[in-house]
């Protein structure tokens, strides 16, 4: 049976049906992904660690003990971003400073999947400590976009997005602080969702910016996104900011948008959206109306201030969160330091990469005496203005839509020397984090052969409305294309050699 399963097209919904009907075993299903990893991972580099032996053993156990190990997700293989701690499985955050860290507990979101007998395939690559938009800041390796291996998968959940796009995972968990699920999902042609802040426990998610971080799904369909989400949400005594959702996450079925009012913020379209992305966006907006939705122009006047505010708030929180990496309790320690202070400074100097150092510096600077009011204090007030923009807009519309990323996947290396250009990649995704709102990205077509993402943002706790609308749109869009694994840099070199 597993011979006919195409990991580039199989969705969790079908995989689940095949398992339930006994048409495929959990071990066979897991093998489909381990085989695909063996076939393409040397080109994609999506995983920091593939736990193939554990996955094979555990899936066999699920088949053997089928009566005891039942459940709606039992036997479905998942990939996990390597900033979620996993007991007994090395967790690196793609940083030198945690290269040997063996957690003694497991993140709640991952624990809930393990308890549901999901098979973990491995830990996926990311920008070090989730700081970046291309996964090029990984201290382990650079991940390639399966649509064109010369381009980046986006970031920071680039490993999870590339793994799902490349058929190296059925679905995956990522984390989103300023777009780190949605932007790589857009660039890799998959679905990615950041839930409402508080919907998913952050316990065991290695903290970057605690008031912004959320765990969420990266999947091959909106239905799968809802299915994975409903098993990770809920209050957790270990995370005081987690909340019980006032509703069940529904599995979306509808194909119409009748009665739905969708807002299009003019400010987002002025953010340097490239023409190919704009064209796909406009077509998708037209589809919204064909499906019975009503599109209206709205204004979110403080949009252009969201990015500057984010680049104070996130680094400020990061500089405090990353103080714990000091060479005392875990991770790397510099050798031969004369005293404690030198050990701290050299451990951190050796252990952190360039982008993490930049963010720690910005954050420390913004929080330091004399600058606090001008930077951090002001950024927190701008954050309030961004929230008020959304609150006002949602008085008149049900959802807000925009491109997810202003561009398609960009070439590896093209933004690494210009941090500010890299930061601009998240210009459409950051406001939802500042306001704590749920948002998701669905693929809405190709531009120059590369995927374009369509972002939907909803009011707090409107997950079901968002997923329902995204599901209807997805059906009308019919985006089923699989990536080609082409390498435009190789063909360019070959082209030059010929001419």
């Amino acid at each position: 049976m597993s011979g006919v399963l195409d990991p580039l097209r199989l969705k969790a919904r079908e995989a689940k049906r095949l398992l339930v009907d006994g048409e495929v075993s959990a071990a066979e299903l897991t093998k489909v992904y381990l085989d695909q990893i063996a076939a393409v991972e040397d080109r994609v580099h999506a995983y920091v660690l593939v736990t193939s032996d554990n996955a094979a053993k555990y899936s066999t156990k699920i088949d053997r003990e089928m009566q005891a190990m039942r459940g709606p997700l039992a036997g479905l293989p998942v990939a996990v971003k390597d900033n979620m701690v996993t007991e007994g499985v090395t967790t690196t955050c793609a940083s030198r400073i945690l290269h040997n860290y063996a957690p003694v507990y497991t993140a709640t979101a991952v624990r809930r999947l393990w308890d549901a007998h999901v098979v973990m395939l491995g830990k996926t690559n990311l920008d070090e400590f989730a700081m970046g938009s291309s996964t090029e800041n990984s201290g382990v390796q650079v991940t390639a976009n399966p649509w064109d291996l010369a381009t980046v998968p986006g970031g920071s959940s680039g490993g999870s997005a590339a793994a799902v796009a490349a058929g190296e995972a059925l679905w995956a968990l990522g984390s989103d602080t300023g777009g780190s699920i949605r932007q790589p999902a857009a660039l890799c042609g998959v679905v990615g969702m950041k839930p409402t802040y508080g919907a998913v426990s952050r316990y065991g998610l290695i903290a970057f910016a605690s008031s912004l971080d959320q765990i969420g799904p990266l999947t091959r369909s909106v239905y799968d996104c809802a299915l994975l989400l409903r098993h990770i949400v809920g209050k957790d005594p270990h995370d005081a900011t987690s909340v019980e959702l006032p509703f069940e996450v529904e599995l979306p079925e509808g194909d119409r948008l009748d009665g739905l009012t969708v807002g299009i913020p003019g400010e987002y379209l002025a953010l340097g959206i490239e023409p190919g992305v704009r064209a796909r966006f406009d077509e998708t907006v037209a589809l919204v109306e064909e499906l019975g939705g009503r599109c209206v122009e709205i204004s979110l006047p403080h949009t252009e201030y969201a990015l500057p505010a984010y680049y104070i708030i996130a680094p400020a929180e990061a500089s405090a969160n990353l103080a714990r990496f000091d060479g005392v309790r875990y991770g790397h320690r510099a050798e031969g330091a004369a005293d404690l202070r030198e050990m701290y400074e050299r451990t951190r100097g050796e252990g952190f990469g360039a982008e993490v150092k930049r963010r720690i510096m910005i954050g420390t600077y913004a929080l330091s005496a004399g600058y606090y009011d001008a930077y951090y204090g002001r950024a927190q007030r701008v954050r309030t203005m961004v929230r008020r923009d959304f609150a006002r807009a949602f008085e008149g519309v049900d959802l807000i839509v925009s491109p997810t990323s202003p561009t398609v996947a960009f070439r590896a290396g093209s933004r690494t020397d210009d941090p500010l250009a890299m930061y601009m990649s998240d210009i459409c995704t950051i406001p939802a984090n500042l306001a704590g709102l749920p948002a998701l990205s669905i693929p809405c077509g190709l531009s120059d052969g590369l995927p374009v993402g369509f972002q939907l943002i909803g009011p707090a706790f409107s997950e079901n409305r968002l997923l329902g609308a995204a599901h209807a749109l997805e059906g009308a869009l019919g985006f089923e294309t699989a990536p080609s694994f082409r390498d435009s840099s190789a063909s360019a070199v070959a082209g030059e050699a010929r001419s």
Binding site: Y197, P308, Y311, R333, G349, T364, R378
Partner: protein, 93 residues
């Protein structure tokens, strides 16, 4: 405008060793990034209150009941250096 001295001072606050070439590059990069961030100063923030957190939850408390904590051996397992069931560090400067 951020200076080389500022960078050295902030790196010291952050307990972060920067090599001379790193520090020099950092000054230029931070100047550019902070230049963009200064866009915020265009806004009249008047009496807008700050947002530290988006949720309406305050003082989340749990029952103050004893329960087992992390096992000592587990807590020490990842430590680079251990002595007498404790984390071992270099002497204070």
């Amino acid at each position: 405008m951020i200076t080389d001295d500022d960078v050295r001072y902030v790196a010291r606050l952050a307990r972060l060793r920067l090599e001379p070439d790193e520090a020099e590059r950092m000054t230029g990069e931070l100047a550019k990034i902070l230049g963009h961030i200064d866009k915020m100063s265009e806004l009249d923030i008047g009496d807008v209150p700050p947002t530290a957190h988006v949720l309406d939850v305050v003082n989340v408390l749990r029952r103050d009941a004893p329960r087992p904590s992390l096992d000592r051996a587990d807590a020490l397992r990842n430590a680079p250096s251990v002595a007498d069931d404790s984390f071992r560090v270099p002497r204070m400067g």
